[in-house]
C-alpha cells in the first residue's frame, strides 16, 4: 500500500492521509495524480485550479518520477507562507 498525504485545501477535501494499493497502470507521480482526478471530482477541481506540487518520500518530485507501493506521496497546493 502507498501512503497518500494531502496538504492545505487538499487536506480539507481529501483528509490528511489515505492508503492506496497502486493500480498496475499507475507507475509515476503524474499517473497517480491523473488517477485521483478521475476517481475524485473534488480532487480534480482543486488540481484544475492551480498546479499541484508532489513529493515522493519527502522529496519534491516531478510528474515523471516513478512510484511504487510502500512510497509516501504528498500532494500539495501552491505554497503560501511568510
Amino acid at each position: 500500500m502507498a501512503t497518500l498525504t494531502f496538504f492545505g485545501k487538499l487536506a480539507d477535501v481529501m483528509g490528511r492521509e489515505r492508503s492506496l494499493a497502486l493500480p498496475q497502470a499507475v507507475s509515476t507521480a503524474g499517473a497517480l495524480k491523473d488517477y485521483l482526478c478521475a476517481q475524485d471530482s473534488v480532487f480534480a477541481e482543486v488540481s484544475a485550479q492551480s498546479a499541484l506540487r508532489i513529493a515522493v518520500n519527502d522529496v519534491l518530485a516531478d510528474d515523471a518520477v516513478a512510484i511504487r507501493d510502500e512510497d509516501e506521496i504528498a500532494f500539495m497546493p501552491p505554497f503560501s507562507g511568510g
Binding site: 496538504f7 492545505g8 485545501k9 487536506a11 480539507d12 492551480s50 506540487r53 513529493a55 519527502d58 522529496v59 519534491l60 504528498a74 500539495m76 497546493p77 501552491p78 505554497f79 503560501s80 507562507g81 511568510g82
Partner: protein, 149 residues
Amino acid sequence: MIDLLSDDFDPAARLSAFTASVDGAGAIASFVGLVRDQSADARVRRLRLDYHPTLTRASIEAAAQAAARRWGLRDILVLHRVGDVQAGAPIVLAATAADHRRAAFEACDHLMDYLKTQAPFWKLEITDQGERWIEPRAQDYKDAARWRA
C-alpha cells in the same frame, strides 16, 4: 537556526539572542511578519498554517544554506509559526547577519520572498465572513523571481 513554532513567540527576544550570538557581524537585517486583522473584505480573526512534517523544515534549511553561501552570511535565523496564529501576532521572523548591510538586506529580503512562495506552507484565513485558503499574489511570484541567479 531554523525553527517551526507551534506557539506564539517574542520576535524581539529571539532577535536579541541572535544578535548576541553573532560575534563580529557589522550588519543585522530582520523582518517580522504579523497577521493583519483586515483582508480585502473581512475582519481576520486568525490564520491557520498547515505544513509538511519533514519537507517544510528541510526546504527552509536548504534555502538558508544557499543564501548563506550566496551572500557570505555569518548566520541566519528563520522562525515560522505553524498552527493557529491570532490576528496581530507574529507569524514569521527572518534575520541575517553579515559584515556589510547590502548582503544582510538582500539575503533577508530574498528569504522572505522564498518563504512566501517556495516554502511548503499553506495559509487558511479565518475571518468573520468565513474561511478561505490563501495563495500567493502575482506580485509575490514576481518578487521571488528577482533572485534567480
